[in-house]
Subunit: 384 residues, 2 copies
């Protein structure tokens, strides 16, 4: 029954991927400016230098009014004529050039791909431009902050995870995707969710429910929760990757949809919420484009053990590492002054156990979709 | 801009998920038969016993004519009145009952969900039915072989991964999914790809190209390879999960599409191919429904270093573990008698290095989609 292979030499109507758009032009202009400065300095017979905004923890702070993590103004120099920084200077210019080619060609590459693209032996030596991918990854983070462009705007992406379904139609690279008709599988959220690739078309949803795990998402999809409760349903397979965070942020910011998070009652669940809400401490510069300060934590709550009448079957003892992490998270500036969060973490610690979302299955297979979440929504009962 | 939450109490047209279909009826009948036997034995005042086909390695063999892994006829007893097996007997009956409820309700659950569903304290004791999820996972594997039903037919699934795009329209739980119009994200391949959930509608594709990583898949999708070469493009994010394997198998078996695999040139890539082709040694009983004996290994080949004129940038040294694994794989019965595979592994070992698919980026961003794979397809150059 196998058919003969036929190669169609047709011209594609869409070109080789996202074309050079206005955001791409802005990115290219910033790279040109960076390169110009190096050239001008050299021609003026001065020492070329790159100024890199510092990504250290000490240069990260919580902006209370904007309610996001922010980088301070500290910078570090990366002069060419210094044995300590010469190699990094070369790598920074090399990766800038690679990004320029990539954006110019309207193509995207993975972090791994960028490593290979920039890897070669320096002429006349036996030295490689890069020892391993950690070097190119770090330089790409430098480039993000130097250029003021998200990595996605540099056309570089990481592994994708996460799926979406619900009352929304989106346009993805010209294709219309009706997320109400995506079966059991769903739409795979891409790594790059910038508006140059993804546009929102029709959305009747009232909110977004983001769940931690794809297995829980499956329960909600199977019970057609998104249809009954008029929402969008997303999952990030644990800590959501940047594509999912950017999608959630855009749904919140551009469509005004509240984002409710259903995560485990454990320090990992609290940390996932913290990253969705305020951003990652290690990558503070992305927060202004990724964080959702209004995101709500719906559960699982430490009081649910009593409130939902759960049996001791669901208890997973907190270990020493959990306890340490829980106390660290309680001290995060955005939780430290919030009494409900202090009580939540205190209650979990006094319980002495964690609980997973799946533990609600001990009540009934569909308890979480038919009782737990609807009750929280009706009572507007969540942590902020 | 946030809208007020409105809960729609509409009746869904599709019911609560996959309805009880003919395969489900067959599964239910098998569970009833199992339970009947236990009851009849008890009423006859004989000792109840469950007979479990043995999943041990010694009971696994390679069927040369069918070209798949197969289980032998060895079984083990699981009597109720034996201290060594009483607990497992109880768990087996308990999980059977859980599966019956699940299938009867037309719902599905994750392995984790099945654990919680079956977990309780045995009346009048302090003993739990299950100590941890490994116990319920093992019993579910027993049930698969006892009932002769795939885990998916028991409505139980594991974490999903993997995406698909290309010249095919499928029906997923009643929704029509045009895989030609799935943007940059793609259709997320569900955990359960049985024909009770997924049906194929229109397919013009000539073959399936399965790539190891989502980041490589992204390159092929962006270059619209599936459109130019009239194919379906899948990825499994490493070792493909059962959903992806079952989807590939059905595309091969029901639509007669050849499956070409583009994987890394390393023992892990060879092992992924081996599992796609013959099945997993640890779970031989699934092979007859999952394995694709005709699947081809397109590359990366050890000769590609010279053939494609790659630089030493792409070399990743084989470590001791790689060398041991490579020799083990060379000894697999389905590779042992194939000279091309023996030469392939020998060449990799004499190279002394591995190569990733992404290493082709050192030639050009789109070398893999524009040169490498088209050349292999035209020359029908692959390993079998």
């Amino acid at each position: 029954m196998a058919k003969k292979r036929t190669t169609k030499k047709r011209t594609t109507s869409k070109g080789p991927g996202p074309a050079v758009r206005s955001t791409d032009k802005a990115t290219l202009a910033r790279i040109d400016k960076l390169a110009d400065k190096v050239v001008r300095t050299s021609l003026a017979k001065k020492d070329p230098n790159l100024v890199i905004p510092s990504r250290s923890l000490s240069n990260t702070s919580y902006n209370k009014s904007k309610r996001i993590l922010q980088m301070g103004s500290a910078t570090s120099d990366r002069p060419l004529f210094d044995l300590k920084t010469a190699r990094k200077f070369m790598q920074t210019v090399l990766l800038s050039s690679g990004v320029k080619d990539l954006v110019g060609a309207g193509k995207t590459l993975s972090l791994r791909g960028m490593y290979y693209m920039s890897l070669h032996t320096i002429q006349g030596t036996k030295e490689k431009t890069l020892n391993d991918q950690t070097e190119s990854d770090a330089v790409l983070e430098d480039l993000e902050v130097m250029l003021g462009s998200l990595r996605e705007e540099l056309h570089v992406f990481a592994k994708k995870r996460g799926t979406m379904i619900g009352n929304i139609t989106i346009i993805d690279n010209g294709d219309e995707i009706n997320c109400r008709k995506m079966g059991t599988g769903g739409y795979a959220i891409p790594s790059i969710c910038e508006d140059s690739v993804i546009q929102f078309k029709n959305c009747e949803a009232d909110f977004v429910l983001h769940v931690e795990k794809d297995t829980v998402w499956q329960r909600f999809n199977e019970d057609r929760f998104w249809e009954k409760h008029n929402c969008i349903l997303t999952e990030g397979s644990g800590q959501p990757p940047r594509g999912v965070r950017r999608m959630l942020r855009r749904l919140n910011e551009e469509l005004g949809l509240p984002v409710y998070c259903l995560l485990d009652c454990d320090p990992w669940g609290h940390y996932i919420y913290s990253v969705i809400k305020q951003g990652s401490i290690a990558l503070a510069y992305e927060s202004q484009r990724m964080a959702i300060p209004d995101a709500k934590f719906m559960g699982i709550r430490a009081i649910d053990y009593e409130r939902c009448g759960l049996s001791d079957d669901v208890q997973i003892a907190l270990n020493d590492r959990d306890i340490t992490r829980a106390k660290q998270i309680a001290d995060y500036p955005w939780f430290a002054n919030k009494k409900p969060w202090q009580l939540e973490i205190k209650k979990m610690l006094s319980n002495g156990f964690k609980m997973e979302v799946e533990s609600l299955i001990t009540k009934d297979i569909s308890y979480v979709t038919e009782v737990y979440v609807p009750e929280r929504l009706d009572a507007q009962d969540w942590l902020d």
